[in-house]
Symmetry: C2
Amino acid sequence: MSARYALGIDFGTESGRAVLVDCADGSEVAASVYPYANGVIDERLPDSGVELEPEWALQDPADYVRTLQHAVPEVLAGIPPEDVVGVGIDFTSCTMLPTTADGTPLCDIPELCASPHAWVKLWKHHAAQPEADEINAVAARRGERWIARYGGKISSEWFFPKSLQILREDPGVYARAERLIEAADWIVWQLTGVESRNNTTAGYKAIWSKADGFPPTEYFAALDEGFAQVVDEKMSRRIDSIGGRAGGIDERAAAWTGLRPGTPVAIANVDAHVSAPAVGGIEPGTLTVIMGTSNCHILLGDRLAEVEGMCGVVEDGVVPGLFGYEAGQSAVGDIFAWFVENCVPPQTHELARTHGVDVHHLLEEQAAALAVAENGLLALDWWNGNRSVLVDAGLSGLVVGLSLSTRPQDVYRALLEATAFGTRVIVESFERAGVPVDRIVACGGLPQRNRLLMQIYAGVLGRPVEVAGSEQAPALGSAMFGAVAGGAHESIREASQGMAPPIAETYLPDPASRPAYDALFAEYVRLHDHFGRGADDVMKTLKRLRDEAERAIPRLAPA
Amino acid sequence: MSARYALGIDFGTESGRAVLVDCADGSEVAASVYPYANGVIDERLPDSGVELEPEWALQDPADYVRTLQHAVPEVLAGIPPEDVVGVGIDFTSCTMLPTTADGTPLCDIPELCASPHAWVKLWKHHAAQPEADEINAVAARRGERWIARYGGKISSEWFFPKSLQILREDPGVYARAERLIEAADWIVWQLTGVESRNNTTAGYKAIWSKADGFPPTEYFAALDEGFAQVVDEKMSRRIDSIGGRAGGIDERAAAWTGLRPGTPVAIANVDAHVSAPAVGGIEPGTLTVIMGTSNCHILLGDRLAEVEGMCGVVEDGVVPGLFGYEAGQSAVGDIFAWFVENCVPPQTHELARTHGVDVHHLLEEQAAALAVAENGLLALDWWNGNRSVLVDAGLSGLVVGLSLSTRPQDVYRALLEATAFGTRVIVESFERAGVPVDRIVACGGLPQRNRLLMQIYAGVLGRPVEVAGSEQAPALGSAMFGAVAGGAHESIREASQGMAPPIAETYLPDPASRPAYDALFAEYVRLHDHFGRGADDVMKTLKRLRDEAERAIPRLAPA
């Protein structure tokens, strides 16, 4: 076999990344990143300048195509196209868009481009909370059994809340939408010319299961008569399994990318889910934690269980033959970046310059010099709401313990710890539900960049945390699916065994820090339950008052 | 009468200030500030370098003498000494020190200068909370009636907790202390050569009253056998009323200051309490709010009431013939300064430079552009504990509502508002107890510097807030007492009527902001009660864990 390489393309929040790997051992041959020109659209629409409301987060689908046009040719430079055995893609999810029947995004249609609902709703678009609340309430009222697969609650981040928001707020755009589709499936459509729908996003984000399909039409009708036929009119009941082939590169995509027409393209997949095979996490009991702007937790189990606040469980959703559980934390690296951008005084920046390190690194050093609990602080890590286990985008961040002697590194450490406490809540929720966590493997951007963070996770979790060998787990995982689609490996399991690099480093908990971490965690859990389970709704009241205040402000017309 | 001037000396937290005013109309003739060389000592002792524990705050009495040596001669330059009719002083309180029988501070004795307990304990020394807890518990057990005059609780900031801490932690220093004395009385001793004790600090800070004197010896014995005779051995039962004369400038003080020997010196007083006559707040129902690093509230009433969490009520404690009520907030300007020092990113500093304003001012402008509640945030203003109405130094600051779109000006505004909510809690506590608040006058450093702050106070309190005409109210008030001591005015009431400048400006509440402020205040009160009244002790647990962590860290010997 002359074909030796697989191409993985990872569509992230801020950029798209193409990685070419060797099918034999997974080693990286070339990589290229395309930073999205329009990035995350959360203030104004491009061109029209239409202002967005709070909690909105959109993207421009042209940025995905530009990733194909720029990043892919770059990694293929000097490689004979026939040496690329297959292509896999992964995407953030649920990131979804409305299109015409031929796949044209509605935001590309001139008369719709000033309509916010015509654009891609990014995973962290949080404005569909009223619709999520309604979806959950109607499910509870009707006793819908599928809700148990989603930890008892559908998140505002998912497919039907976002779709219902379009119907409710812009019926015209909803009517024009001949297709509502995950961006993951949409980009595969752009590569192959063929529309397909993958079982991972359908299962985790769109209330589909292998056994039961979608919720019944009566359920959708109970939400809104106009929503009754959403699946049949705008989606598809044909769901394809990950690990399969969606089609081949078509002529247009070949011209964009430099790939050979006909090159096999795998069924679309999700960034977090492809990371599990990429780090070698394909056995029951292995928890893969993808740590970046947010945390995503993928846990494999050999049986179906009901876990509070998980995002979902899908049979065959990660690797065939196992139940793939997903949980998540809506903001992790995003919180640290927010802190460094907004809360670090000039003297810390100056000190970082003097030491020749970046500010994150200096804060990490300063915070690492603190004993556990020495900062006197505790935070709830809900800067972007809480995905698991509370499934509530209406929650917000909290810091307690502030004093006149609190320094930036004290707060920074509290933020790192808060995200570790959030992960521990998730791990304990799985274990309480009878889904064992035997091994924890971390990947994503953060574990390699922040040693203190990993040491804190090991300490808070009280168990070893392994750091994956690949720094580009999603792209590598996608390449593995591409290799399977192209026949270079028989199965994703075989691809993982052959292509996943060895663990880079293992962080062990320091037994001396255990009592203090446990004491802090007990406080975290009490605050978590008090503010997260309805005893005190101050976070929601503040958002409501903010929304009322913002609605009362006269808006300038867009320029 | 050729003598025309009165001298007021205000001993603050960071500096001492001398102001010479005209006795006829209170107009300022000259002013001078001496920034304390050793400032607030909260990390290491001067010279010895001995490290202090958390919550400690000391001062160096030599800084007070240097204020006399530097600031006073400066304001007297060109003034014939015989034109100075009298001198009044005010001090932070309870700021106290141990001395020998001749008034020598124990920290000036070489073999004691490395003992932290030999130094001046500043008002914001918060390390005597265990002793305060014990003082309150023993009072409750014995049914001591005087506790009602202190809102039901003695603060850790006050005289006996600080004294008992010396006994408990350093019995050697306690034994060597022939006198335990307020710094206010000590500096008058240094000026006149005569020890006196004023009824204001005795009444507010040392559990004394005109009717009942000090608590009984049995009470002190119940705290500690060694503490039984504290009043008779180390203090005095002779208490002099403010408005009187302590003595005349002695030869040594004349040499330090340039004042004429024999110049009358008023009985010592407290910064907050002298401010009431300085702003013209001498009628029942007038609340004077002294706003600086902390807030102090002085309210005059014509009857005795029990008010939750007030610092104290003293008959004749502010002006003769009325009950002077005191309440306080342990940190106000200190919180804003902490924020600007520790939490404001370079781009905000840069913008301030571009606009040619300081960072406080820029943040004020940015925060003023926000609608009420638009920041989505709420804070508890307990960065330095809570003085009124919870009387608990073990509490700490909290911010809730944080999100990835929270900006520095959002937090800054939440901090301003939090201190206004804290003041509203105090006002409502007085009114609930039947002590009316008819008029609010603000003075201190902040009201003239931060217009947004005053607008927020008016909005949150829902009533006009007047800003006093004098920017140096304490020094002016002290000068009034000096004028009375020197006979230029018959009484402090007459001095206030003659010398207080007219109100500079009145802030009116905006009725449109009322509903949002009331809604935020309701949330504030619920959080205040939840974290402040024992339902959730997380703030104390965090301090305990911090203290345990710090004790476990090996300390370096002082250099």
